[in-house]
């Protein structure tokens, strides 16, 4: 079905399939440097006040885990659809999705804030919260049946268990196939992709409820999980595009990934920009129309002062600008521009997460603020540190194996892939 003659697939040990040494050697410096930046940023933030520090940490954490989890979804989705086009970029997503395991360790400080403190990050962990804020005791009793530190911890272990199991299952299958070329592995991965995605969706939605939505314990939105998920999948497509571009710049997979793959990644970015908008607006519209105080306060706080400006930034720069900018096929077929838009959207994804979490960072009795220049700097340091740490870990894993699924039965199809 192509005008090209059947392409020749390079042998599995071709140097174009290995992580370029210039990138691989970055892994240890990135891991150490990332941890240092993370520590520095977190330290500065903690000096402002304890909840601010934990909120900054949580922002960085959610940013990174959402990217890893988005990549996990990407891999499972390709298997679910038996997609041919994506085989040449799937290994990149497979490497990043493994990050759910190290991110599980980075979640420990958040568990620690529950077990060794009282409401340092999550207000519901403070036994006096309901009384101090005159919350209805009967409702609060119901809330705390779900929101208590021990059950929260069990659930977090469950989420990380599901994600890690899925990530390892799909990673190991793919790596095994690299060695054996066994087509049955693809069948097995596809067979389990349906149940896997259902488990994934449950874990991801409830993780979003637990970790982000419960920051405002009296607020609830059943759409919140989808909202976080939308940004997560968007950022996954972005980071795949960025990785592909950087790999090709350094000489890897130059013949395998073509402008057609950028075009498709660009389409997904375009689509998920709008999906994110659609979900974010749907969540807003229902609450705005219903106009019930216990639901509106979440948005009300986020329309005041700095948070209101950030909300406008999200409308104009997380939706309108990339929506218009990614609409043309000429842009999506230009790897340099796809790369640029991907970087741009990764930054805006952080703004989105920041806007979700930081308005809940108020100290007891105070108002939430960005913490001024120092507070913003600490947030950026923290997220940059954790992100670089994650990239370092990705590189560490990527350099052990090929950067492409060398014996995937659809590799040839993927290389020859062409859009209409």
């Amino acid at each position: 079905m192509s005008e090209h003659a059947t392409p020749n697939v390079k042998p599995a040990d071709d140097p174009a399939f290995q992580l370029p040494a210039s990138l691989g050697s970055l892994s240890i410096p990135l891991i150490i440097g990332g941890l240092v930046l993370l520590g520095a940023g977190w330290g500065i933030a903690n000096n402002i006040h304890a909840r601010f520090g934990m909120s900054v940490y949580l922002t960085a954490f959610i940013y990174c885990i959402s990217i890893a989890v988005g990549c996990l979804f990407f891999v499972m989705l390709q298997h679910l659809c038996r997609a041919g086009w994506s085989v040449v970029v799937r290994r990149i997503a497979e490497n990043i999705m493994l990050m759910v395991i190290p991110m599980g360790i980075l979640f420990l400080p958040i568990i620690g804030s529950l077990l060794f403190g009282e409401g340092v990050l999550y207000r519901w962990d403070d036994p006096n919260h309901a009384v101090e804020n005159h919350l209805p005791i009967s409702i609060w009793a119901e809330k705390t049946r779900w929101l208590n530190s021990s059950w929260f911890t069990v659930r977090a272990v469950l989420y990380f268990g599901i994600w890690s199991a899925l990530a390892l299952f799909y990673y190991r299958g793919s790596i095994q196939q690299d060695a054996t070329g066994d087509k049955a592995i693809t069948d097995k991965l596809q067979y389990w992709s349906g149940p896997a995605i259902m488990m994934f969706c449950g874990a991801t939605a409830f993780a979003a409820f637990d970790w982000v939505m419960s920051l405002a314990p009296m607020w609830f939105s059943t759409m919140f999980g989808v909202y976080v998920f939308a940004g997560s999948v968007l950022s996954a497509h972005c980071i795949i595009s960025v990785s592909v571009y950087l790999l090709q710049k350094r000489g890897a997979i130059q013949d395998e990934v073509t402008v057609e793959h950028y075009h498709d990644l660009g389409k997904y970015m375009f689509g998920f920009v709008f999906f994110w908008t659609y979900i974010a607006f749907s969540q807003f519209l229902l609450i705005w129309y219903g106009n019930i105080p216990e639901e509106t306060h979440w948005f009300y706080e986020r329309q005041e002062g700095t948070w209101g400006k950030i909300a406008l930034i999200l409308i104009f720069f997380h939706w309108m600008l990339p929506f218009a900018g990614l609409m043309s096929r000429h842009i999506r077929r230009n790897p340099k521009l796809v790369f640029a838009w991907a970087i741009y959207l990764l930054i805006l994804h952080f703004v989105d997460i920041y806007w979700m979490i930081m308005p809940e960072s108020a100290a007891a009795g105070g108002h939430a603020s960005t913490g001024g220049g120092l507070g913003i700097a600490s947030s950026l340091l923290c997220v940059l540190g954790m992100f670089l740490f994650m990239i370092g870990m990705v590189l560490k894993i990527a350099k052990q194996k090929a950067v492409i699924a060398v014996h995937d039965p659809r590799l040839q199809e993927s290389i020859a892939f062409e859009n209409m």
Binding site: M1, S2, E3, H4, F281, F284, Y289, E418, N419, M420
Partner: protein, 483 residues
């Protein structure tokens, strides 16, 4: 085959067995410089547009244009309908509330975009087209099955039948045929006309039934397609309900709450009395007035409503005022807090027309429809409404605040209107009554210079008309007398 020479040749077509040979032939044809070409395949083939050298379509721009038109249409439509033509508050939102408009804007964007894509594709492809000369090729049917066809149009600038045939032959084309004019009749077959006619005739039947029903009578009850729309289950004002213990469908204000727009705590505005002065001279009455306007009265209070007392008080005041004006010591407001701008007067005119004119008459002379009817049937209990033009009701003897209080609480047979008319509108009525009174006593000096000529002209015309009428009457009387 002999008559082939007489038919017009549209182009030349070749059949290919595989995608690869077709794509190869496409490239050869493209490289030979042919522009008016087309390839036909049973399924979409990647890269065929590149192989044929087809230029990118303008369809995306059409879709973008249509999509933007849809967005703008939806927003303009909603703003016009909901905010300008028929301002209507929904869920307590502003008339123009963008979030509420976005779902419709989104849907219309999608709808217009799809129309743009669908009909734009038709237009660009020259559709609908009922026949194509290619259909005359006996082998062309297999394009829907397992064969691939390449066609070069004879109207191409560089068309050369021999050269095209050569390319076809070299690239493995089989059954290379000239595409001839379709010589079957181009008239639409008669059965189709008949079918159309039947459909059109059938479509008129419902209309005829409707028309017949509109001009004939029937003893059958009316047929309600949407019963709930004809008989809304929502309660009207004053209707009963079995849902509530008190049997009323309308709910009284919850004690201790204030309805939106009712939170006017300016006591002077609500009572028409200068409260500071009143509390200095008659503290208990001031207190009573405050209690009266302070929040709604619960159902249990209704027996001893202070409104009734205040109404009596006002009635007594005005009774005594008609006798000895000096006895009314209430410090009424002497000016209208709304002023008397044109808007206020128009508002007052409206509410005067609705609530006051039935008794007091449109001109305030006291001869409204209710009064005329009462006089006609000689109602024994009827007390004629006051003319608003008596001097004792002018603002120097009957201050604005007192007039406001009378409208609010009633006087003699007239009930209080505080429950029906908002305070602001009652003040507007006061302003309008003052304007009515002034209209009988105004001098031309009060009219702005620019409008005097017009008024004088109108006055002259009226006098002229009255004169003419008088003369005409005189003449008819004289004529009657002569007979």
């Amino acid at each position: 085959m002999s008559d082939n020479n007489e038919k017009k040749v549209h182009g030349i077509v070749a059949e290919y067995e595989s995608v690869d040979s077709l794509l190869n032939a496409c490239r050869r044809v493209r490289d030979a410089g042919y522009k008016k070409t087309d390839a036909y395949t049973p399924f979409p083939v990647h890269g065929i547009d590149k192989a044929l050298g087809i230029k990118p379509t303008v369809l995306p721009w059409i879709v973008l244009g249509c999509g933007l038109t849809g967005t703008v249409t939806a927003l303009v439509m909603q703003i016009w309908m909901n905010s300008i033509d028929y301002p209507y508050i929904i869920s307590g939102k502003p008339y123009i509330s963008l979030p509420a408009f976005i779902p419709v804007a989104f849907e219309l964007t999608v709808l217009f975009s799809s129309f743009g894509a669908f009909f734009g594709m038709w237009a660009l492809n020259g559709l609908p087209r009922f026949s194509n000369p290619l259909f005359t090729d006996p082998r062309f049917d297999r394009v829907t099955d397992d064969r691939f066809f390449l066609y070069v149009d004879a109207s191409d600038e560089s068309y050369d039948e021999k050269a095209v045939r050569e390319i076809y032959e070299q690239t493995g084309g089989e059954h290379i045929n000239s595409v001839l004019d379709d010589d079957s009749s181009d008239k639409i077959p008669k059965p189709i006309f008949m079918a159309w006619g039947l459909v059109i005739a059938a479509s008129v039947i419902p209309l005829l039934i409707v028309l017949k029903m509109r001009v004939t009578n029937s003893d059958q009850p009316r047929f309600h397609i949407f019963y709930d729309m004809d008989f809304s289950p929502a309660k009207d004002a004053q209707q009963g309900s079995t849902l509530f213990a008190d049997g009323r469908a309308m709910r009284p204000d919850v004690p201790g709450t204030v309805a939106r727009g009712d939170s006017n705590y300016d006591m002077n505005f609500m009572t028409g009395v200068d409260m500071d002065k009143l509390s200095a001279i008659d503290a208990p009455r001031a207190e009573r007035l405050v209690r009266l306007s302070n929040g709604p009265i619960g159902p249990q209070d209704q027996d001893s409503t202070p409104a009734a007392e205040e109404g009596e008080q006002a009635a007594n005041d005005s009774d005594s005022a008609s006798g000895e004006a000096a006895k009314d010591t209430t410090p009424w407001l002497t000016s209208n807090p709304l002023g008397n701008s044109k808007e206020v007067l128009l508002q007052g005119e409206k509410y005067f027309g609705i609530y006051c004119s039935v008794c007091h008459g449109m001109n305030g002379g006291g001869n409204g429809l209710v009064n005329r009817r009462a006089q006609k049937i000689l109602s024994p209990t009827w007390i004629p409404p006051s003319s608003l033009h008596q001097e004792s009701l002018y603002s120097d003897q009957y201050p604005d605040g007192k007039l406001f209080s009378t409208i609010s609480n009633g006087i003699r047979k007239m009930p209080g209107y505080a429950a029906q008319i908002k305070a602001e509108d009652r003040w507007a009525i006061v302003a309008y009554v003052r304007a009515l009174q002034l209209s009988r006593n105004a001098s031309i000096d009060l009219i702005p210079q620019s409008q005097r000529a017009e008024i004088l002209e109108m006055q002259e015309a009226v006098q002229q008309k009255l004169l003419e009428e008088a003369e005409a009457e005189q003449q008819t009387q004289e004529a009657a007398a002569q007979e």
